[in-house]
Subunit: 636 residues, 2 copies
């Protein structure tokens, strides 16, 4: 089973088209301006000297790379000569920046040429290299221009000459994974197996003894081994290098690193057929989704090294749930979905897309969240009074960040979102995501028409020149407890297998599949050990997680209690928050009468019924920023 | 109304005698060893040079001072020549360390003589001076030896020559308050009014415009203006210098500073009769107790600058609730109690003593808490995984701290605890605290016999050579909803006034007062806006706040729900945790069945009844350290 390629799919309408159009029309240019105005854009000119403004940073190459990648995907369907010439200018500068031996990193070229490859644990050279490769491949596929691709192949060749299992090479691997998945892409586009072998080396060498990072420090005793911004010590587990991945049972450390890594592991596993690597991916996915993931799909619960902490530790106000980590999770789940044909990976992908990722960008496409908390007490943030590290956090999206990984990551995801909708193999076409779209391959077309995720009905029209005999497999989300499938108006009984409904038929042009995924409002509870959510429930409908905002419900959202049996109304409003279904219902508010001069009193709460309104979590703080909460007290 | 002096009261038995005896027999020596082994003890020798171990710290003088003060109070009732000679040795060193002009600070003497008085906001000279004065007075009162007192008077005279409203003096005031209350003590012991005037100046000048700290920075542009340990900026409100105290409506900033300050403000108010200062004290007390205090009496809710944040922000796991702040609160409440004769201050004093303070020291007197959280998830602390500043925090008491303010503060409080039991004025004797003790003044003796706080009956026997006509005023705690008073077996109807029951009588030798303060187990709730406690209740009996510990109740305390109407049994066990009343009853535990591979599910919790046992919060983590929680989920 493999994904439909970008050129084979178009998003034709509805929710995703709206968000993707904003990405193309607004976000790409907004980010270009930010890259320019923060000095990143021309970092490959390498003209910076001590004392100049805009001191280069180790991540800068990756910021530009992700933006180029985003532009590349976008121009496949929407050619844009202006954007293309902007990329070409950067590529020209990149060419001049490449060293004779193929090395390419604007930071080390300017800051300290002798320091290259000396501190893999902390520095980000291989990470930047990976992003540049992804960008080069995307740009080549979008335009046919191979200049950047050639630059990156030369760089990959250089990297291959430095790292690997062979005698005389360093047995190192990146402190921030990313190049693993990029090398697999490079292998796929060039057919050059050495890139796959190098990726496999990076994947499997990681965490082995004797430990490369120990050896590296011994060889270069002067190198920094700490997280400079916070003074905290980086442990090997923080970069998933405490053990070989095949021996890891829990998902640990920096969440973006973890999920980029697992994406690469899945890629290598698929191409090499290594069952131990697949098993590791499945095991760590299970740990993540069964113990360490927010209900929004967000992952990485603490700002401290932006990492996973431990099972069931999912604080809401201080949830880090970095946008990039959620995106990386989609990358991983998408790969696992294609490898396993198991819809549960599609469920996590859809959940994360609709909630933990889209909360990261404002509806107008100009502002971003790095961290995505599940509850906000605005006063705590305003006054910086909560005594925790709220770096990148808050309840108002930002125009940009010093560490600007998330905005261009969102841009590249949204400009390639088509890719996640459909997959296919020789027996079936798989519909992974629902939304107005068109898939075309080998004379077959599937056209979806739906107001999903706001409405429960999806219509898929088959187009073909000649009848064909294939399964059409519809992902049936895990949240769905009742569904109906009709073909040409007749109820059918598909074959259900691992989260997909396989409709086996000989299809004719104009056949219509109607899928109903019933979407009652559900009150969800968290695992009993998730102590931050004890006695609480969250409102969810279909794949959409809801929240209460101060704008609709006043301050002190914590005083509201929901009766679990109470009914909530669903209203779709095309003019509200760009068009969405919101929920209305009743809550019970604890009375504060008698508490004006009392902080503690005998337990005797009184409840007053009040109306409440819940909006999709992804759309919070697009009006007046203020308090917000996903988890609500349950009136038991 | 003034306090009984130390020599007039003896604690004769029961809970407090046990803890005070441990303080005298164990803690004083334990702390001496720590002072010695950490280089503090002989800091006044001033022999330290760059490169030597034990680099002096700005707070060191205060650590020694508080220990001397503790020893002094202790030897009033329990002469100890060994301890006394240890103090004498320090005082001799102090004498040699004093500058010709009276200045005395071991840190500046060694580190940078030219820097004295240049950075009042950040540095701690006046703070150390205040503690040294308190120690000198206590040692003089305990032993009659005036050497240290004379040293400190000379220092006070020097300070008075540097600071004040007069032309040519600096209009400065301490960055860490303490000297205000010490100067008042110095005035009382010497009768020298200039010390009172200087204290009044420090109290009233604070926060005025033009702002002294602005001027100081302008004059000494090189001085540090940041909290060096955490990189966070110190704001004037953090040291209560944002406004004159008479214009402050909310209690702000570093909680120890705030309460030492208010203690000094109350002292100055009492002696000068300034109503605006008293009003400020009352207003800030109200804000603290009605909006910013833990149910344990703990104050200062964040590790960030160890401060108050904002109304109703009282997180449990990250509660800072510094032991010193609770002690300072007792100092302040005690003063306000004597000034106002209003028992509510006695209530806060008692609550804080029994809970937020005594949690700060192990039952064996050798280990201490700096921060006193109200809930612990041990895993979060063990793995340092919660992404917050847990400096000084944890769930195991420490033998000592780098910043060691709390241990000697506990020692001096416990060795002077008698002082808080009784007050008197010309019309009445006030019984403020309950516990086996004897008060003697002018031929009158009151002897208390009780197992308070574990039992509700208190017996007070009057002793006198000749009959006397005075009220005996018994504090009736605010938590008490039903009480009984008998004199010589006959029920009487005292006059109730501001939290005291005044029994007006002509008293004869051998008269017996019997007071019953009924102590049902109460389930308490917090103010609805206190979002960390929503839907929760705390178990309280009399002045004692209870908690659940992992040792008795297993892990995942968050899964336990209490039915608010359920009855709890009270058992006094003389052999349990040094003798205390614990509670047993039933809770309902959320079943985790079906959740092994599920993180989120439709809301349908199932509850299983389980027995639970609650112990006094002050005694937590004296057995196997582990999870703990004061606030428990209520099953509504």
């Amino acid at each position: 089973m493999k994904s439909a390629e970008l050129g084979q799919v178009r998003i034709t309408g509805g929710y995703w088209k709206q968000r993707c159009d904003v990405n193309r029309d607004i976000t790409l240019n907004t980010e270009y301006i930010q890259l320019r105005d923060t000095g990143r854009l021309h970092t490959f000119r390498q003209t910076w000297k001590e004392g100049d403004p805009f001191e280069p940073h180790q991540f800068w190459d990756s910021d530009i790379a992700k933006w180029i990648e985003a532009v590349s995907y976008s121009i496949i369907h929407n050619p844009d000569k202006d954007l293309e010439s902007k990329v070409d200018e950067i590529v020209d500068e990149m060419e001049t920046a490449q060293w004779d031996d193929g090395y390419l990193n604007s930071y080390y070229s300017v800051k300290d040429k002798s320091a290259r490859w000396t501190n893999l644990l902390i520095d980000h050279e291989l990470y930047c290299a990976g992003h540049l490769m992804e960008a080069a491949i995307a740009y080549f596929q979008a335009t046919g221009k191979d200049k950047m691709l050639n630059i990156l192949c030369r760089y990959a060749d250089h990297i291959n000459s430095v790292f690997g299992p062979e005698a005389g090479k360093l047995r190192g691997y990146p402190g921030h994974q990313e190049i693993e998945l990029a090398l697999v892409k490079l292998y796929k586009v060039t057919g050059n197996e050495k890139y796959l072998r190098l990726s496999e080396f990076f994947v499997t060498e990681r965490g082995r003894q004797p430990h490369y990072y120990d050896a590296e420090l011994e060889r270069n005793p002067g190198i920094k081994r700490y997280d400079r911004q916070k003074g905290s010590k980086l442990k090997y587990a923080d970069v998933q290098a405490h053990l070989p991945v095949t021996e890891q049972d829990t998902i640990e450390g920096h969440s973006v690193r973890a999920l980029y890594f697992l994406s690469g592991v899945a890629d290598v596993a698929e191409l090499t057929g290594r069952a131990d690597l697949i098993a590791a991916c499945e095991r760590l996915y299970d740990n993540m989704t069964q113990r360490r993931m927010y209900i929004t799909g967000g992952i990485g619960d603490t700002a401290d090294i932006e990492r996973f902490t431990y099972d069931y530790n999912l604080p809401n106000e201080t949830a880090y749930a970095e946008t990039c980590a959620a995106i990386a999770s989609v990358f991983f789940c998408h790969r696992m979905l294609n490898i396993t044909r198991d819809g549960k990976y599609g469920d996590t992908m859809e959940l994360t897309l609709h909630n933990g990722i889209m909360s990261g960008i404002s509806l107008d496409g100009t502002k971003f969240f790095y961290a995505n908390p599940l509850a906000v007490d605005a006063k705590a943030v305003d006054e910086e009074t909560i005594g925790i590290n709220i770096r990148h956090m808050g309840y108002k999206r930002h125009e940009w960040f010093g560490c600007a990984c998330c905005p261009p990551n969102l841009a590249r995801l949204l400009s390639s979102l088509e890719m996640y909708f459909y997959s296919h193999d020789c027996n079936a076409i798989y519909v992974n995501l629902y939304g107005d779209s068109e898939f075309s391959l080998d004379g077959i077309t599937l056209s979806q028409k739906t107001n999903y995720p706001w409405s429960e009905k999806i219509e898929i029209t088959v187009g073909c020149e000649t009848s064909f005999d294939k399964s059409i497999a519809l992902r049936i989300p895990g949240w769905c407890r009742k569904l109906g499938v009709k073909v040409n108006g007749m109820t059918v009984s598909p074959e259900f297998k691992k989260g997909y409904a396989y409709i086996n038929s000989i299809w004719n042009d104009g056949d219509i599949i109607e899928l109903i995924l019933e979407m009652p409002v559900e009150k969800m509870q968290a695992h009993p050990y998730a102590r931050h959510n004890t006695g609480k429930l969250a409102l969810k409908r279909g794949p959409i997680v809801y929240c209460l905002e101060e704008e609709d419900n006043g301050k002190h959202l914590n005083t509201l209690f929901i009766k679990p049996t109470d009914h909530f109304n669903v209203t779709y409003d095309a003019d509200f928050l760009g068009g969405c279904a919101y929920l209305t219902g009743q809550a019970f508010k604890i009375s504060d009468e008698g508490f004006e001069r009392t902080l503690y009193a005998p337990y005797a709460p009184e409840y007053i019924p009040v109306p409440i309104k819940a909006i999709p979590y992804a759309m919070w703080t697009n009006r007046t920023p203020g308090d917000m909460s996903v988890w609500l007290n349950a009136l038991k």
